[in-house]
Symmetry: C2
DNA sequence: GCATTAATTTGCGTATACATTAAAGAATGC
DNA sequence: GCATTCTTTAATGTATACGCAAATTAATGC
């Protein structure tokens, strides 16, 4: 397991993985600056792989490299949230449509169905962390079923950018009961092979999620997460 | 002018700019491999900035770094073209909608109008290069007016990826007369503030462009450009 | 005491060196 | 002649060194 670390992965790859983790977990807080040399020491490697990793994470929108000021972990404002959800709405709806067009078998839709089941259980148990994880899986799998690798990559990128903000709002927002119903409707449209319905239902789902999340952020003046 | 080169831009930035140029122009042909050291010599700098530039261009989907095999300039297949146009269709349509919602003044729409005028002139003169340039400007400006920076970045990235392929099909495809009409319709919807119409018209425009381009690629067996 | 300039520090950009390891080629055994 | 193993080559991944410019601090003049 840990062998993956030293053996197959290069230091640059490890740096990408670890820095990403630290950013998403909040260990590297939004808005904070970090010198390349600090990060290098923290991760136990030289500046070279750190710089390469930072460059990659910069193009994924997680941080920004500013000469002499260090690497800045990018905060997410409610405006950013809007931008990102606009994109997620469009691309995921497309994916839902394409998934419905593809005519997947029950087997092929098992993961998607499983993610919905997990969300139901999580709601039952009022376990928000588990719900969030299953929700993430649903959206990821939906996009995978859409069959467009680039959409997959973009959606993953956008999801990363809002993950911190989502984690924060998780305990403020209402219990996502409605959300689960939405997922079920989308799933049904896909399994019945109804592209138009899948697309539109998912679109509405995302628009509502966006309105809710941005509303919360603005109401609570959470303007950089 | 040339001062920008040595003065304000870092070698890494120059490498990004120059490599991108060379890829888009075909000077670095699709599917070819290039050692980091070769590229370094070509651009007159050390491997370090070349590696950094390559990393950035890799995340923009223009090339791929494969250990020991060198930097590979990514070809674009007709499947790639489909993926990319699917994304452009969704995101540009959103931009058209948002631009219409924004209620821009005539002044603010001047660049967009100008690009349409240029396309008309180009068609008149049967100057396809000029038409392509103006078309590029139209789409770029449309997305800018949409007001979503991330959409702008993604669309730019996708456009880069298909630029070579578009250049090739340019002289095979029919004269883009219909295309110009489409642009005018979209423009009108935006200037009249009709988001739904702008969105739908642009969507249809892109779907047609996609069908036409992918059709040509497949018909001519152009499967990696 | 304040502003302006000089000195110093510090972090980055980049060249360079080197260890590692995959790939290519040579040599050996059958 | 062919397969297999050993050698050699060569390209990468990474550490390191260093010049340069920005930022900070000290110093000087008023």
């Amino acid at each position: 397991m840990k062998d993956q670390d030293a053996k197959t992965l290069s230091n640059t790859q490890r740096a990408v993985r670890d820095l990403r983790r630290m950013i998403l977990s909040g260990e590297l807080a939004a808005g904070t600056d970090h010198l390349e040399s600090e990060l290098a020491e923290t991760l136990g490697m030289s500046r070279t792989p750190i710089r390469e990793a930072a460059l990659m994470l910069e193009s994924k929108g997680l941080l920004e490299m500013r000469p002499r000021k260090g690497v800045r972990i990018l905060p997410v404002s409610s405006d950013d949230m809007r931008e990102i959800y606009d994109i997620l709405t469009e691309l995921e709806s497309l994916a839902a449509q394409r998934a419905a067009e593809a005519g997947y078998s029950e087997d092929e839709l098992a993961v998607l169905a499983g993610s919905i089941a997990k969300m139901d259980q999580a709601i039952e148990a009022e376990d928000l962390e588990a719900w969030a994880e299953a929700d993430e899986l649903f959206h990821q799998e939906l996009v995978r079923l859409g069959g467009n690798k680039r959409v997959e990559a973009i959606v993953a990128m956008m999801s990363d950018q809002v993950r911190r903000a989502r984690a924060t709002t998780l305990f403020i927002r209402p219990l996502p009961v409605k959300s689960n119903e939405d997922h079920r409707v989308v799933f049904q449209a896909i399994s019945e092979g109804r592209p138009g319905v899948a697309r539109e239902r998912h679109r509405e789902h995302r628009l509502q999620a966006q309105a809710m999340l941005c509303g919360i952020l603005e109401k609570h003046r959470l303007n950089s997460l």
